[in-house]
């Protein structure tokens, strides 16, 4: 019987053949934490006073969630983290300005095909784009891995998603993953691995794969993974990293379920409040007035996303009734967008550029919403209260739909604008 990607990676890490449902102990290649490291340090120190982290080289800390610090309490957290990484000799520390952890981790070469990365952040599953087994854990478990270097994982069953065809104009990876989540449901892949297979995978850019893998957790998935192929090789050649450990499922692997999507059937969609699986075609929502547009995050803050929006907004002004915030996913993406004139296009159109970080996504600072306001966001969550106000509404879309809607101040179909 063939093995899935999850079985192969976990089997290799555990040093034996594994079966689905089995619990294995593994030493993750990297453990990611972010601003929450301040709280994790507290747990670490109360568990092992004066203790040393087991593998300083396997710890990565990125300050991204509330940057620059929004209050002295946030600043105190950042300070504690800076002191801790110095004391413990943790060199993979990325202070404010590097960007969102899920963009920075691959950029810094810490996400490799065939490796295992655990992160105290639910969107750690983004690294599945790079053929990495990556999933989220809580703060307590991160503290535990700092101390012991290991943890347990259950070998998940796998859902196979077969992709064929190519996107039509005005449609992108975000529309695909929202469509899938709408079909599968918020808990439809709970505890399971999701693999993306099929002839269309090769045509997806790394940025597309990251958008798709990022949202695996929104259907409950443990991981959402892609095979390593030519695009993957190009990415790692540029980083001068060898990818000899890349691995993929056997042709006769057994899947719990197989779903098929033809990309040319996908239309622009929107996830309506207050659940990510509440997905409808943009056509059903056009004309609804919005107050704020947010283009950015680990889901859609990359150069390709900013460019897609700029291609729609270039030479025009956003509608006077709407405000638009743009958060580049990282310094590298920010610089790319700057060099290519993309930021100039967006700012000229009336957008406000935020520092590279999580920005308003989690409602802790920057661009919080007022009661009764509506935000169209390219982020991954529209939960009630997510952007700081439970009486506000969050709608999720692609960068293309966000840009088209910025022009009108109302939800608009990008295919109409691109005609």
């Amino acid at each position: 019987m063939g093995e899935t990607f999850a079985m192969k990676v976990l089997g290799r890490a555990a040093g034996k053949k594994v079966r689905e449902g089995e619990i294995v102990f593994v030493e993750p290649d990297y453990i990611l934490t972010h601003d929450n490291s301040a709280a994790i340090i507290g747990k670490f120190e109360s568990t092992v006073p004066e203790g040393r982290v087991r593998y300083p080289g396997r710890i990565s800390i990125v300050l991204d969630h509330v940057i620059p610090a929004a209050s002295s309490k946030h600043a105190a957290g950042h300070k504690k983290i800076r002191e801790f990484v110095r004391e413990q000799g943790i060199t993979n520390f990325f202070d404010i300005g590097y960007g969102v952890c899920h963009q920075v981790m691959p950029e810094m070469g810490l996400v490799k095909p065939g490796s295992i990365v655990l992160g105290s952040d639910s969107h750690t599953c983004t690294y599945g784009a790079f053929n990495c087994f990556a999933t989220g854990i809580d703060r307590t478990e991160a503290a535990g891995i700092w101390i012991t270097g290991r943890t347990w994982l259950k070998v998940p069953e796998t859902i196979n998603i077969e992709l064929t065809g190519a996107f039509l104009g005005g449609v992108s990876a975000k529309d695909l993953i929202l469509t899938i989540i709408g079909d599968v449901g918020a808990g439809g892949a709970n505890y399971m691995a999701v693999e993306f297979n099929g002839p269309a995978v090769g045509g997806l850019r790394i940025s597309d794969r990251m958008t798709i893998a990022n949202m695996g957790i929104e259907m409950g998935a443990k991981i959402a993974a892609f095979p390593a192929n030519i695009e993957t090789s190009r990415y790692f050649i540029a980083l001068d990293i060898e990818i000899s450990k890349a691995v993929w499922s056997d042709h006769d692997a057994i899947y719990a379920r197989t779903l098929e999507y033809d990309l040319s059937d996908i239309v622009p969609v929107i996830a309506c409040p207050h659940q990510v699986d509440n997905v409808v075609p943009v056509g059903e929502m056009t004309g609804m007035k919005i107050d704020q547009i947010f283009l950015g995050t680990c889901t859609n803050g990359r150069f390709e996303d900013l460019k897609a929006a700029a291609d729609i907004l270039r030479g025009q002004k956003i509608h006077h009734s709407v405000r638009m915030l743009v958060g580049p996913a990282s310094r590298i993406e920010y610089l790319k967008a700057m060099e290519k004139g993309i930021l100039q296009d967006l700012v000229t159109a009336g957008a406000v550029v935020l520092p590279p970080g999580c920005g308003p996504c989690l409602g802790a600072h920057q661009g919080a919403l007022a009661p009764g306001e509506k935000c169209l966001s390219t982020a991954n969550r529209n939960f009630k209260g997510r952007m700081g106000e439970k009486e506000a509404e969050i709608y999720l879309s692609s960068p293309e739909t966000a840009a088209a809607s910025a022009l009108t101040g109302k939800i608009s179909d990008p295919r109409e604008v691109l005609k």
Binding site: H65, H74, T140, A186, G187, I217, G363, A364, G385
Partner: protein
């Protein structure tokens, strides 16, 4: 004992503990006042040690923030019965030493006012006039739960200087 009954599916971590407090509230006493703030604003004022929560499918979906599991353990929630739990929340509850019971039939059977009693050792939950059983946790998780959570479990095994 009070049973807090939230029968809807997909109760997410933002409803259990709003993200805007994530980096300013980390300890049990800090978390307590904001628990379930956007789901049931009365919960924090009413909850007592030994109380239970009963919910639908995919309870705890969303963020990896641990304030929900840590906070619910802190206020003394004895167990949560749900039709299913989101994966990260499930792990997190074990890490905090909080008992979760996945039993769709029992969660569906409960009607407001029913007496509920849990016997973790026997793997039984009594709901009204019926008894439902739940399978024991795998040993790896049971060990963590028995020690009162992951860090207590590690503390018992850790030797200073134990580092390669």
């Amino acid at each position: 004992m009070t049973v807090f009954h939230y029968p809807q599916d997909d109760i997410n971590t933002d409803l259990l503990f709003p993200g805007k407090y994530t980096y300013t509230c980390s300890t049990g006493p800090e978390i307590k006042d904001h628990l379930l703030e956007d789901l049931d604003p009365e919960f924090a004022g009413k909850v007592q040690p030994g109380d239970m929560i009963i919910a639908g499918e995919n309870f705890g979906c969303g963020s990896s923030r641990e304030q929900p599991s840590l906070g619910l353990k802190h206020v003394g929630i004895k167990a949560i019965l749900a039709k299913s739990f989101a994966r990260i929340f499930y792990r997190s509850a074990i890490n905090q030493g909080l008992l979760l019971i996945r039993n769709p039939e029992a969660a569906e059977y409960y009607t407001d006012g029913d007496e509920v009693a849990v016997d973790p050792a026997k793997g039984e939950i009594h709901v009204g006039d019926r008894v439902f059983s739940f399978p024991p946790l795998p040993d790896e998780m049971l060990d963590i739960l028995k020690d009162g959570g992951l860090l207590n479990h590690i503390k018992k095994q850790y030797t200073p200087g134990d580092r390669t």
